[in-house]
Symmetry: C2
Subunit: 212 residues, 2 copies
């Protein structure tokens, strides 16, 4: 029956089939997010997504009722995963605000550059997303920013950081991290790790903390 029931929630099926379906959806979302990240929303066509998955376009519409819905799913899933990692890192991090901020920046850059090469750029560089998704991306960014903001303000209070304006620092942090995946695209292994470390050091300069 196709699109109508693409995202029905309470559909009675066996647990096993349901699991399989969920896995397939994840596969699709992952591939779609990669492409959205590489090219931006507009420039991705579903035929390409399908091709990467070795299926045809029609099959995508069995799981998602529109391109927009697929976009939303990509943003949702990957965004949650990302936020989780940052929050978990902060839970186990200790040391001075500078040490914790360095760890947070490092984790953030690592995620963007190494772990999700193109996929998560989706969130960082605003492309031509439909309004609904832009809203979601903005929410996510606010959540991430809050993690950084709290830490930076703690560091200022402790007299460790020299910051002219917290918001401006956040913008620069965000902008730099968002373009990092593009710079580091060709690098691999050792060189990439070095680039991530150097970027982390450089970004710490924004709050007045020099390396060493």
């Amino acid at each position: 029956m196709g699109a109508q029931q693409a995202v029905d929630e309470a559909r009675p099926v066996s647990a096993r089939v349901q699991r399989k379906r969920g896995k397939r959806i994840q596969e699709i979302v992952t591939v779609a997010a990669e492409l959205f990240g590489e090219r931006g929303y507009d420039a991705v066509n579903l035929e390409d997504v399908a091709e990467r998955l070795d299926v045809t376009k029609g099959s995508l519409y069995y799981y998602f009722s529109s391109k927009e819905e697929l976009g939303t799913a990509a943003i949702q899933t990957l965004g949650d995963e990302w936020t989780d990692r940052l929050e978990k890192l902060l839970e186990r991090a200790d040391g001075s605000p500078a040490q914790r901020l360095r760890a947070l920046i490092h984790e953030h850059v690592t995620i963007a550059v190494r772990d999700y090469p193109a996929a998560l750029r989706v969130f960082l560089v605003p492309r031509n997303w439909p309004a609904a998704q832009r809203e979601r991306i903005k929410e996510l960014r606010t959540r991430h920013n809050q993690l950084f903001r709290d830490l930076i303000e703690e560091g200022i209070a402790a007299g460790e950081f020299t910051v002219t304006g917290v918001d401006t620092v956040l913008q620069c942090l965000h902008a730099s991290m968002s373009q990092a995946p593009a710079w580091c695209a060709e690098l691999s292994g050792r060189a990439q790790r070095a680039a991530i470390d150097e970027l982390t050091d450089t970004l710490m300069m924004l709050v007045g903390v020099h390396p060493d």
Copy 2:
């Protein structure tokens, strides 16, 4: 006869008519660049460009033989203008490397944020440009980067700057400036000038120079 002779070079016409034609082309290019900057290459349709100019699409094809050619013209014209302003500033700038770098950053941000609100973002955020134009954008960026690089290296030699890696600093500078127009979009007048100043101060931190 339309498209065929859209960009013929040696067409025999009177000087006056030739001038008029050139002016019209500039008008079109300016409007097109604005739209490309706002939405990215893909998302701009020529009907919209034409509408902003109060003409119809067919008319654009009298001057440009394709959308791609219009894109190239936009990049070329605006890029030259921008580079000119930066080079002129450096000619008349004096003082320490820090003072000159601050002036250069300030000028660059001012151009991007205030003088060409959306237009020149074309160069800064990589969108889905066809390969040929991507090449041009890269060239332009290299030229701009060189201006910054020379100054930063001078400042390092003079012992004024603390920099872990020049390339990484350039990337962060570039990334931050490229997203600045988006942050400052709503601001106007006094608030915008303040934002530009604060961004300049914050970016100077990247080379280890604190305000005051």
